[in-house]
Symmetry: C2
Subunit: 193 residues, 2 copies
DNA sequence: AGATAACTGACGAACGTTCGTTAAAGAGGT
DNA sequence: ACCTCTTTAACGAACGTTCGTCAGTTATCT
């Protein structure tokens, strides 16, 4: 399908240069066609962008949901650290998460509404799942916390900090050191010892 | 000074729309002049951008350095939490930190070199200071950690996660909850108890 | 099977608009 | 008169978008 090729190229340039910085001629040239031909597949730049956005959202959401349904949920230390590694993995081998990060941080103003909806949707779902897991682990005395919300937010914070390091992306060694440090302090912060 | 007004407007639009999305005519109109007049004060868009960048960097760096030299360094819990509040404060009442965040995350490709230099400079200085502080606190048995690097990186992670929440910026309540959660878990992670 | 009609995808050309930039002319203050 | 700043005017280039066209494929009907 040609429209998939276009979306693939669009994803690349939107990720590198942002919405305003990416041009249809660039994208078309990358596919091997003229920019006018894009209009045979998409209604315009906004339509192309929103479809790329939707695909990226689906990929990210399903990846995370799949992870949570694959774990047995009885080993928080392994399960949580595994999630951090999943995020790193997704980011490094999947262009879509980079795109997702960029445009959720700094959306083009005239599409903010559409983007926010998708962002909030993922956010709520992941947060809900995490909160349930933490509650189970607290009930099973596997971790210690004043309420399930605390470790949930704190863990989401660790995820965010890893994402920032991935966005900077210049230093693999530094990434692993920050992952290690954040994880160790976080785990000590919620575990018995 | 008129060039300050121009930089102020430029800062605003660069922050909202990014480098590519901000136009000189927008900026000029905001100041109340024609875009061509900008060239009496700056060599061009890049020059304007880089000067705004430099100012933002100076502001952010000096704010943080000033904070570290103002604390007495004997109460890590207060000093560290105070730094988090400083970051929130800077972000909320200072346009320059928002600008700094956006362009350090996603710099315009042709200026990446110049930007990276400034970013790394701040990063190294703040990290160096923090590492020294943590070492002192470890020596004084005020906190516990395997090495000074661990709490340093972990704390920088907490800062980053707060910054992300500030970038999303839609929910003050959520920000405070994430701050509270990340901080509590972090502090439990490095303190005796 | 063969002719005809409809659809698909890509194209060159051009639209109006905006971009960053340069040059020359005019205004204001010292 | 000189310098600083602003304006008007104009530039080539690029932007997203629309148009008409045309080759190639697919579907329909006799």
């Amino acid at each position: 399908m040609k429209s998939d090729e276009i979306k693939e190229a669009a994803l690349k340039f939107f990720t590198i240069h942002g919405y305003e910085g990416a041009s249809l001629s660039q994208i078309a040239e990358d596919v091997g066609m003229k920019k006018q031909s894009i209009y045979a597949h998409f209604k315009g730049k906004d339509d192309l962008f929103l479809q790329v956005l939707h695909d990226a959202k689906e990929t990210e959401l399903s990846s995370k949901l799949e992870y949570f349904s694959s774990i047995d949920s009885s080993h928080p230390e392994k399960d949580l650290y595994g999630f951090l590694q999943l995020v790193i993995d997704l980011f490094q081998k999947n262009e879509q998460l980079k795109f997702w990060l960029r445009i959720s941080f700094f959306p083009p103003a005239h599409l903010q509404k559409d983007i926010d909806m998708e962002v909030i949707d993922i956010e709520e779902k992941v947060q809900g799942i995490l909160e349930n897991k933490f509650q189970e682990w607290m009930d099973a005395k596997l971790i210690i916390a004043p309420s399930a919300k605390i470790p949930t937010y704190a863990f989401l914070g660790v995820v965010d900090s890893i994402l920032i390091e991935l966005v900077y992306g210049n230093d693999e060694h530094r990434l692993l050191e920050k992952l290690n440090a954040s994880w160790r302090v976080f785990w000590r912060g919620i575990s018995h010892h």
